[in-house]
């Protein structure tokens, strides 16, 4: 399907998911605002999830569903396991984000700021 452009596609799919991870990490490491950090975490999660799906892809494969039309022909199907895993990963990512947001709310109320470098009452 992709023919000679294999490398390009590899680069673009893997590259974009790795780029998402790195961009997210950058936000987590550098941005001072708590919300941005949480967003960064979500972006990282998305990158990882995209990576899961990308890795599970098999060239020319269809969705791993034996619908009436394909049940007899048994076509090449993509790997179903990463798809199942990514479902779990997404949900867990959602849960963590929700907790993170609630913590941000608490922190903002407590410190009246959302800058992470000003919230350091616990140290040493």
């Amino acid at each position: 399907m992709f023919g000679d452009y294999q490398n390009v596609v590899t680069m673009s799919v893997y590259g974009s998911s790795i780029a998402l991870i790195l961009i997210g990490l950058y936000g987590v490491l550098i941005k001072k605002h708590l919300m941005k950090i949480v967003i960064g975490l979500s972006v990282v999660d998305s990158g990882v999830n995209l990576m899961f799906v990308a890795v599970g892809y098999i060239k020319g494969g269809t969705a791993p569903i034996f619908s009436p039309s394909v049940i007899d022909s048994k076509p090449l199907m993509v790997d179903p396991v990463p798809q199942a895993l990514v479902l779990t990963a997404i949900v867990i990512g959602f849960a963590v984000t929700a907790v993170a947001l609630s913590l941000v709310i608490r922190l903002f109320k407590h410190h009246n700021t959302a800058r992470i470098d000003q919230i350091k009452s616990l140290k040493w």
Binding site: F2, Q6, V9, T10, V13, Y14, G15, I18, A19, I21, L22, L25, Y26, L29, I30, M51, A54, V55, Y57, I58, K59, G60, G61, A63, P64, I65, F66, S67, P68, I71, K74, L76, M77, D79, P80, V81, Q83, A84, L87, T88, I90, V91, I92, F94, A95, V96, A98, V99, L101, S102, L103, I105, R106, F108, K109, N112
Partner: protein, 242 residues
Amino acid sequence: MKKYLAIFLLLIVGFYLIQAFNLVPFGANRVGNIDDESTVGAYYLKNTVPKTSVANVVTAIVVNYRGFDTLGEVTVLFLATTGLGSILFRKRKHGEEEERVLKESSQLVKIGSRLLFPFIALLGIYVFIHGHLTPGGGFQGGAIIATGFLLMLVAYKNYKLGHGALTWIESLAGITFAGIGIWGLITGGTFLENNAFPGLGNVNDLISGGVIPIIYIAVGFKVAAELTGVLDILLSIKPNKN
């Protein structure tokens, strides 16, 4: 300075990630020959239809082969709601009404939302009822339903959710999932074993796959209730005075 250091470090991480995934060519067949069953993927593709009568292999994996994961996943959601409740808990003064931060929406949005909501809910329900036949399933369906509630929450400033009902749905759905699991143990099989019904039915029938659709429906309800609960909690936070 810190910025460039971070970029530098992240580029190194990226380099090694690329290096690691470089050995995993995109689109190559890593499942192997399906009849070899050398990988779990191959085994699932080969055996799902004959052994579970479920057309959607992903659903079979999520609910049955790796159903234990899914149970954990549902628990994570449940715990997130619980945790949110405990983190953002505040004592309400007697008679104090919940008040949201939102502004009142326009009439158009309100009516539009009310019109859309049943259809969204219906779509969600369809998605999780047909989880074992078509793409989608409990999580997806639940999320769709929660979107409907989000719409309502955004449109109506004081949209009341039945908290009691949410708790009931959450708990009952959870009990159904865990209970089916334990039923497997009671009947002499293994935890979550697909033996609650005598037959598995025909592939691609609506009623097929043993307990898999039932679990997925329970998951759908649970996810819908929990996502809605999370949205509700996060929306009902009072802003700081200053």
